[in-house]
């Protein structure tokens, strides 16, 4: 009984301790932004490994998600004789929800896990302490470029995902199922609002990029310096990111589109 209480207390303390460490870590990261501007090459290289290398999975998934939306939407709408509204369904689902959320989940699985594993391995092999020995701040040299690269890449990836998805929906709806092309685009334009829908989607992707990358670099920096620790931290990154993205998505949607 007593030992169970002890375990519970230890678990609770550990959780809050990690939460506090994570936020202090974030403050140090954000303070490093000025130094980062002097080291743009570092940021560019990380943009490549975090953003460009995530592109294939984003483009392919976006195309398939758009195509599935086109197919499903058509099958539902055709019962009501409203297949002209297919464009609206595809664009609004992608821009408001699926674009930001699915690209954030893919980003967490592809780029977030890689970031955690890389930083975690650097810590395990004592490269980070080695840098400190050489009076190089690993926070600024290693962590900050990766963090900001993730923050910048995510909105771009989301925009590409949504655009490719719309084209995928267009390909299935207009190309294969014979929805009228003009109606497809005009209904889409008439009912998708620039500020309401697209800018809110961009805001979502900014928030998701920030949170997912933050979780990834923190888990890597905070890993237990063993091979098992790195493996656990990588798993935790994906799980926590997915949870954070979905929970935040609900909060943001409620804020933007209103729970009235």
């Amino acid at each position: 009984m007593i030992s169970a209480l002890l375990r519970l207390g230890r678990w609770g303390l550990g959780t809050f301790e990690r939460l506090g460490r994570g936020h202090l870590f974030l403050v140090r990261l954000l303070l490093g932004i000025a130094a980062l501007l002097l080291r743009l090459p570092l940021l560019i290289v990380q943009m490549y490994s975090v953003g460009v290398l995530t592109l294939p999975i984003i483009v392919v998934s976006g195309a398939f998600v758009g195509m599935v939306l086109g197919l499903q939407g058509y099958n539902t709408l055709v019962d009501f004789g409203a297949e002209e509204s297919l464009g609206v369904i595809v664009s609004l689902s992608l821009v408001r929800e699926l674009g930001p959320v699915v690209s954030a989940l893919l980003f967490a699985g592809r780029a977030g896990s890689a970031l955690t594993a890389e930083i975690g391995l650097m810590k395990t092999t004592e490269q980070l302490s080695g840098m400190e020995m050489m009076a190089v701040d690993p926070m600024r040299r290693v962590v900050a470029p990766r963090f900001f690269a993730g923050c910048f890449s995510m909105p771009l990836l989301t925009a590409i995902f949504s655009a490719v998805g719309v084209l995928g929906g267009y390909f299935v709806g207009v190309g294969l199922l014979g929805v009228d092309e003009g109606a497809f685009w005009s209904q889409m334009q008439a009912n998708t609002d620039w500020e309401e829908d697209i800018l809110n989607g961009v805001i979502k992707s900014l928030v998701f990029g920030f949170v997912v990358t933050w979780i990834a670099v923190f888990e890597g920096y905070d890993t237990a310096p063993t091979s098992e620790g790195v493996a656990r931290a990588t798993t935790r990154t994906v799980v926590h990111s997915a949870f954070a993205v979905l929970a935040l998505d609900f909060v943001l949607t409620a804020l933007m589109f209103g729970v009235e």
Partner: protein
């Protein structure tokens, strides 16, 4: 860092692709291209009943969209709906006795205002009123009238 030129080029292309995708969403998917036209004049019309008319509903002339509904409010004197519409400046040759009717696009479509030009020599300009209006058809009233006329015919 060896192939930094190539990496920089690829990252630049990536950023350009992302911004291009956003631009495509703005221009092709959303209504941004329709909002940007500020060159309009506004006229108002009063209706007994506007049905499902909304702000941003189209205003058409012979089926061509020439403007959009800007404001919908209640006239506190007459209890009618007062609709202000913004019409693009290039269509500045609408006669003063133009009439406005509210129609429905298709069976389940959105409602829009259709303008029918009259024959007056004077044209509508900024701030003018359209006096001849026809309200939206309310389906229940229509069915009620139909049933009533059937019943009257049988007796």
């Amino acid at each position: 860092m060896r192939q930094s030129r190539a990496v920089e080029l690829i990252v630049g292309l990536f950023v350009a692709a992302g911004l291009g995708a956003l631009f495509m969403l703005a221009m092709k998917v959303s209504n941004l291209s329709l909002v940007a036209q500020e060159d309009t004049y506004s006229v108002t019309a009063k209706f007994q009943n506007i049905g499902g008319l909304k702000v941003r509903s189209p205003v058409t002339l012979a089926g061509v969209t020439i403007g959009r509904v800007a404001v919908i409010q209640i006239d506190s004197q007459t209890y009618e709906a007062e609709v202000r519409m913004r019409i693009e400046s290039q269509y500045d040759y609408l006669p003063e006795d133009t009439s406005a009717s509210i129609y429905t696009a298709g069976l389940l479509g959105e409602q829009y205002i259709a303008l029918e030009p009259g024959g007056a020599e004077v044209y509508l300009k900024e701030g003018d009123k359209i006096f001849l209006t026809q309200s939206a058809l309310v389906l229940e009233e229509l069915i009620g009238q139909f049933l009533y006329s059937k019943a009257a015919g049988e007796s």
